[in-house]
């Protein structure tokens, strides 16, 4: 068994070396960057009116629904190189999932720590990943490994205003936008790509871009939502 493993490693190194050599010394990877604008700012997630409450509900943090995810529809082969057991974290804090949008590569294990004083019950019925972590108290954490690509909508069974999105990709050419909607995809090999922008509140949009052999920056801006 050890001999077979050694043989596979040697083959992989040789293939990798061949791939790099065949691209030639003048080929440089570039950057795709730009901004995603939302034509209509999505509203915060409201609480369901609960007539049975006898007190003002505790305030919860606003959900940042402006975050978009930009990704390559089809990624270069190098993007699929497996890394070591990636980990990510989706907090439950002040009755809000933080971050609201999490983008990960398939095979990532996501930790769901409860940093509130009340119970939370994280679950998803998405076809990409169906899970239910049950109720667990403050200071505890449970984990889920996401193996399949797709969009996973995450909820709390106790607090209906809590929700988050986990976008699972087969490759690593994706980025979540910052406060101002900017994003950046680095180390993109030369070639022709379709860049897609996703936001939970609007239909996705895509742009066709070409990364030159000399690399450099390519700008792709998006405006999502109805005019």
């Amino acid at each position: 068994m050890r001999r077979i493993q050694l043989l596979l490693v040697v083959c992989a190194v040789l293939i990798s070396a061949h791939g790099t050599a065949s691209r030639g010394p003048s080929v440089v990877n570039g950057t795709i960057r730009g901004r995603v604008e939302l034509r209509h700012a999505p509203a915060d997630l409201a609480r369901r009116p609960n007539v049975g409450d006898v007190a003002m509900p505790r305030p919860h943090d606003a959900t940042d629904r402006r975050r978009s995810v930009v990704y390559l529809e089809v990624a270069p082969r190098a993007a699929f190189d497996q890394r070591d057991e990636p980990h990510a974290r989706l907090d439950q804090r002040n009755e809000t999932f933080v971050p609201h949008v999490l983008a990960i590569v398939a095979g990532t294990t996501v930790d769901f720590p409860n940093n509130d004083k009340t119970y939370h019950n994280v679950f998803s019925l998405s076809s990409t990943k169906t899970f239910d972590l049950g109720r667990y108290a403050a200071g505890k954490s449970k984990s889920v490994r996401f193996d399949r690509p797709g969009i996973v909508r995450v909820f709390c069974d106790i607090h209906s205003h809590m929700s988050a999105f986990v976008l699972v990709f087969t490759h690593r050419y994706f980025a979540v936008t910052d406060d101002e909607g900017r994003y950046r995809l680095d180390n993109v090999p030369p070639g022709s790509y379709t860049v897609v922008a996703w936001n939970e509140s609007a239909p996705t949009e895509s742009r066709r871009i070409v990364m030159a052999e000399s690399g450099g920056d390519v700008e792709a801006n998006f405006a999502l939502g109805r005019r």
Partner: protein, 402 residues
């Protein structure tokens, strides 16, 4: 009911994944979330029950054959004031208000709230839950909150014999005093109507206290006063650890309506409903267990037996559990008992003033999506009296809420 059946058939026959995705998943909100509107629709289909009336409500609907639509809304014009309301229709009959009140938090640093209007009950735990939706895996209601006993606020027995004639007939009672119409009795606590009044709620880290003054009683909530009496009720709840809630409640209020009390030789004779309750909830992992005990006493003056005021006691107790087998499948069960005190009816004759009832319910639920659940339940009932003593029902329900 046929409309409900047709709707349910339509819903179940279609490809759920396709149409379910078009339904709203959260409340509709406007004005930066200051206005929020939610809804709950539950279509329940089960066998008819025209003999035993085990599941009938004080609105004379069968909870196992009911199409219910509830629309709730809240408006928060300023941070310390909220207006909240809910309207409901059962079996597409009249639309009626279920809740309509204003909530004010006078001081920002003190977690003290005042509510006024048609308010949620201060007593117990079950009455405040949005039960058909997300929170329960069961279809039926606990006996203490739904089962119609033999007594009424608008009509009263003149003698013990009058009362015992109505034993196990709470769904349709007639008495010589007060209203001459046949009508339903009352449950220990109504789950289908809320009372009108003022409520105070204070909460700290591990304890909260609720107290209210209302026009009706637990069994007979009122929109306006019908007997010049007020009910005082309250509950204290402690949360010793996350997931565990223990509560103790009490209530007392004038029960009989003015139409009956004016016929009594002594209009000042006590005719109160008094109640004590204890409730508990514990949840952990995929488990949720709840239970409640409610003791109720009605002081009932019998005009045909001068000077006799009987204490009509009832004790309802239930425990239920819910376990989530998979993210989509939940199983639930409830064991329930409602017992009544004995009454001297003659030499050596001391029957219970109403027939004791036992109930169990087992249910399985399948979540088509987060807020759309299909349930199937089996409910067994046994009563120590009446024409039909034992009956089992099978019911299906499709519940949707946002």
């Amino acid at each position: 009911m046929w409309r409900a059946l047709l709707l349910l058939a339509f819903c179940v026959a279609g490809p759920p994944a396709a149409w379910a995705q078009t339904l709203p998943t959260g409340p509709v909100s406007a004005f930066d979330g200051r206005v929020a509107v939610g809804a709950e629709v539950a279509a329940t289909v089960g066998a008819e029950d025209h003999l035993a009336y085990f599941n009938y409500t004080d609105y004379e609907h069968n909870t196992l054959r009911m199409f219910r639509v509830a629309l709730s809304a809240s408006w928060q014009p300023v941070s310390r004031v909220v207006l909240i309301g809910e309207i409901r229709t059962e079996d597409l009959e009249s639309v009626r208000p279920y809740a309509a009140y204003v909530r004010v938090r006078p001081w920002t640093r003190l977690r003290l709230d005042v509510q006024a209007g048609q308010i949620p009950p201060s007593f117990g735990a079950y009455g405040r839950r949005g039960y058909q939706g997300a929170d329960s895996g069961l279809i039926g209601y606990p006996l203490a909150y739904q089962y119609l006993t033999a007594i009424r606020p608008d009509a009263a027995p003149a003698t013990v014999a009058d009362l015992l004639l109505m034993r196990a007939r709470g769904w349709r009672t007639t008495y010589p005093l007060g209203s001459v119409d046949a009508g339903p009795g009352v449950p220990l606590i109504s789950a289908f109507r809320w009372d009108t009044g003022v409520q105070l709620h204070w909460e700290a880290e591990t304890v909260d206290v609720t107290a209210g003054v209302t026009t009706g009683t637990l069994a007979d909530p009122q929109g306006s006063d019908n007997n010049d009496g007020k009910q005082v009720s309250g509950r204290i709840a402690v949360r010793p650890t996350t997931g565990l809630v223990l509560g103790a409640s009490g209530a007392r209020g004038a029960f009989l309506s003015r139409g009956v009390t004016r016929l009594l030789p002594d209009p000042d004779a006590p005719h109160d409903q008094s109640a004590l309750g204890a409730d508990g909830e514990y949840s952990r992992g995929h488990w949720l267990v709840r239970g409640e005990v409610v003791w109720s006493r009605w002081n009932m003056p019998f005009v045909g037996e001068p000077g006799r005021i009987a204490n009509l006691d009832a004790l309802g107790a239930w425990i239920e559990g819910r376990y989530r087998l998979t993210p989509r499948i939940t199983v639930s069960g409830r064991a329930d008992r409602l017992g009544f005190s004995r009454l001297a009816a003659g030499p050596g004759l001391t029957p219970t003033w109403d027939a004791n009832v036992s109930r169990f319910e087992l249910s399985g639920g399948y979540a088509l999506q987060r807020n759309l659940v299909l349930r199937l339940a089996v409910q067994g009932n046994h009563r120590d009296g009446g024409r039909v003593r034992t009956q089992t029902f099978v019911a299906g329900q499709l519940a949707y809420w946002f």
